[in-house]
Amino acid sequence: MASCPHCGAELETPLGCGACLSPLEVETSVDPFVLFGLTPSFSIEGEELRTRHLKYSRWIHPDYFAADPELRALAEINTGLLNGALESLEEPLRRADHLLKVQGGPSENEVKDMPQAFLMEVLEWSEILDEARAAEAGTPPREAAFKLKPSLDEERTARIQTITGLLEPLPNSGSEALTTARRELNAVRYLDRALRELESLRLAEAEAR
């Protein structure tokens, strides 16, 4: 573990020192997990990330360095990196996407298909969603779509579990597990889009009242 060039204290994050409360020079290409002082892993708790995010923010936020233009600029860059890192790791979908990229797995464009068994369900769900979209607020097609939510949620949890199994421990570059994980990820992406759509239908429903 590296130590602070100013006070010698052991560093928890390369972004700054918690002992002397100063932001430190850091490469902009450093991995988000490293910025959070963590070993890359899919099964990290969102709560752990948020706790660390607040802690480090209190060390290096530009608000605390407004008087010194140089330190302020550094604090601004580092806090930008910290917040950007939170964005890429907080959501399981984005976190998995990031790990696949880092491990040299196939991109979204290279593997576009979804698990076979899942496709049948997708066809059915899409049909219900299409009908709901075309229907008026408060009509049966809308009701039918809202009833989908529990099964979509359940399905999502199951897929995330599968991905956890595939990415834990992290497979090496070229491993078939990375391709399988990408396929599962495509399924989660579909589920998220469907859930978002349900949410906006729910909002529209409420607004229509």
Binding site: P62, D63, A67, G80, N83, E87, L203, E207
Partner: protein, 621 residues
């Protein structure tokens, strides 16, 4: 003009001011003795109406309360709600422009211009006048200590261009902006401070012209914004307009369609509507009353609160829709909200309070004055920023997503809305043709999927990519949103040793060069304006002197020697032909008249005449 004066002041104030630059009223506060306080000069209100009046004689614009005092008599020369025009292209604000009593145009830079007596003003410059007025007003309460470091608040839902415009306004005003802070977030800071809240807090901020709702989580002094939603064109002004509709309806028979659309008429009608609205917040019914003396027309009608509430219900519903969206984005249900805080003068309308209470199922907080709480919060943030406290931290978000145009006009989002700022995101792109040496980038802001539905922030080209097969180049595009919510984009080609880099500032609005040029020209104009004013003063003074001389000369003519008499008559004649604009020449004529009339003055024992002849104004005697 007055607003360049601060540039030359080299003050070392240890204070930093928080300024709430509102649509209808503006206000300043500072941190003093361990808490934020509103700045108001002895015996006066701290609130400065965001109004600019341009006197018909071409003299200095009257800003604030003074401007508002002139509004009723001369609405056709008075500007309200300039904030609604900030950072918006003309096409987006057609409705607002209908009530602007001056001709408008759009510059090549897409920035609106108001043509006032032959001079062009951007909304930024007009806001600068208001900022200066608020700042001066605040400084008077500080015994003329002049903190030129300020925190300025903006609606949370302001986009990049609107924030940039606010920053430019502050530059025109000669102020050093420490931070642009979102209004609801500032309000939450002020409330959290007073009540040591923790948990999930919703801030419902309905001001004169904008509506914001922000959801925050507070823990251990960290105020973290989870989501924000709103409408930059919805506020108390719209409530007034609902009542203006009643006036227009009622006068339809008496006034022509043209007269009913006249900006001057509409401003007068809005002032009446506003009075009625205020009364309806207290009483079950109120009078809507308007006199158009020039046309001999009077409008009078009683409006009940129920009637008013029916008129504004759709507007209130829109704010509740935004609340629902903000909660959805924060991933919370209404019953997971621990506190609701009301901000902005329009939350005094009982129907607004009732709607919020019923949606969240709890009584909203109204302990702090809803007009003051944003400025107080801005002062807290200013205090943090000048190193006064590490106990608190504000983590704000960007209200609208940022992205790049991809194939087929679709948007690829790089920074999602409600991301904590400052935020840096890097995304990889590549070439799509062999030996392609440049890539065009189109930066947009908005939630929609297609570029055409979003707001363009910048377009730029990355050049100098070495020739190579398609898909081989590795271009890293980096978006950095700073703590003010402003975006900078950079792109770099890094597949070969050679790398290129471009920095782009958002192009909507005024460029840095333009701001510089306008700052310069405002300095030039300041001199010009001063000369015009001085000339006008001299003409008045010479007139007074001539009248007094001619009047007294008749009685004592025979007592003066011929030389003196000729001298006086010559000076009078020259003064009578005085040019209208040349201040130097006027000064010389005035001095000459004074010199020539000295013997006359000596002769006259009449104190009044003496005083007038020695250059004092008669009314001063």
């Amino acid at each position: 003009m007055g607003y360049i004066e601060l540039n030359v002041l080299n003050n070392q104030s240890s204070l930093a001011m928080g300024i709430d630059l509102g649509t209808t009223n503006s206000l300043a506060a500072v941190w003093r003795d361990g808490r934020p306080v509103i700045l108001h000069p002895e015996g006066k209100s701290g609130s400065v109406p965001s109004v600019v009046h341009f006197p018909a004689d071409g003299s200095q614009p009257k800003v604030g309360r003074e401007g508002r005092d002139h509004a009723a008599a001369a609405p056709e020369r008075t500007l309200f709600s300039v904030k609604r025009l900030m950072g918006r292209p003309a096409a987006d604000v057609q409705g607002e422009l209908a009530r602007i009593p001056f001709p408008t145009s759009e510059g090549d830079d897409g920035v609106l211009r108001l043509n006032i007596d032959g001079r062009e003003f951007t909304p930024q410059e007009l806001s600068a006048l208001i900022l200066n007025r608020v700042h001066d007003h605040g400084c008077r309460a500080l015994n003329d200590e002049k903190p030129d470091r300020v925190v300025i608040t903006v609606p949370a839902y302001f986009d990049d261009a609107q924030r940039q415009a606010t920053r430019d306004a502050a530059r025109f005003a000669g102020l050093d902006v420490l931070r642009i802070v979102n209004e609801p977030t500032a309000a939450c800071l002020a409330y959290g401070l007073d009540q040591e809240k923790s948990g999930n807090v919703v801030v419902y901020d309905l001001g004169g012209g904008t509506f914001d709702v922000s959801v925050l989580s507070i823990a251990d002094g960290v105020f973290k914004v989870l989501s924000t939603a709103g409408d930059t064109h919805l506020g108390g002004d719209d409530f007034d307009d609902a009542l203006v509709g009643l006036i227009v309806e009622g006068l339809a028979g008496e006034l022509s369609e043209e007269e009913l659309k006249d900006p001057g008429f509409l401003t007068a009608a809005r002032l009446s509507a506003e009075r009625c609205k205020h009364a309806l917040s207290k009483d079950p019914q109120a009078e809507l009353h308007m006199v158009l003396a020039a046309r001999g027309v009077t409008f009078h009608r009683t409006v009940t609160r129920a009637e008013f509430e029916a008129l504004i219900e759709p507007l209130i519903e829109r704010t509740i829709d935004s609340c629902r969206r903000a909660l959805s984005d924060a991933g919370l249900a209404p019953d997971e909200v621990n506190e609701v805080v009301m901000v902005g003068g329009s939350t005094r309308v009982p129907a607004v309070n009732a709607a919020v209470e019923s949606f969240f199922g709890r009584i909203p907080h109204t302990e702090l004055n809803p007009d003051e709480v944003v400025a107080l919060g801005a002062a807290v943030q200013a205090h943090i920023l000048i190193g006064g406290s590490r106990d608190m931290l504000l983590l704000d978000v960007i209200p609208l997503s940022l992205g790049l145009e991809t194939v087929g006009g679709a948007v690829s989002k790089l920074v999602m809305r409600n991301s904590t700022i400052p935020c840096s995101v890097t995304e990889g792109f590549t070439t799509y043709a062999d030996n392609q040496t440049g890539i065009d980038f189109h930066v947009v802001q908005g939630e929609r999927e297609m570029v055409s539905d979003c707001r363009t922030l910048a377009k730029f080209q990355l050049k100098g990519i070495p020739p190579m097969p398609a898909g081989m180049a590795r271009v890293a595009v980096r978006f950095h949103v700073d703590a003010d919510g402003l975006l900078t984009v950079s792109a770099r080609e890094e597949s070969t040793g050679a790398s290129t880099r471009v920095e782009v500032e958002p192009m909507s609005g005024l460029s840095d060069e333009e701001v510089e040029r306008m700052l310069l020209s405002s300095v030039e104009h300041a001199e010009e304006d001063f000369a015009v004013r001085r000339a006008a003063d001299l003409i008045t003074e010479i007139g007074t002197m001539r009248t007094a001389t001619e009047r007294s000369l008749d009685g004592v003519r025979e007592h003066l020697d011929r030389e003196t008499l000729e001298d006086i008559e010559e000076a009078l004649k020259a003064a009578g032909e005085a040019p209208s604009a040349d201040a130097e020449r006027l000064q010389a004529l005035r001095d000459e008249l004074e010199r020539a009339t000295l013997p006359l003055a000596a002769l006259l024992m009449d104190d009044v005449a003496k005083a007038a002849l020695s250059g004092k104004r008669l009314e001063d005697v």
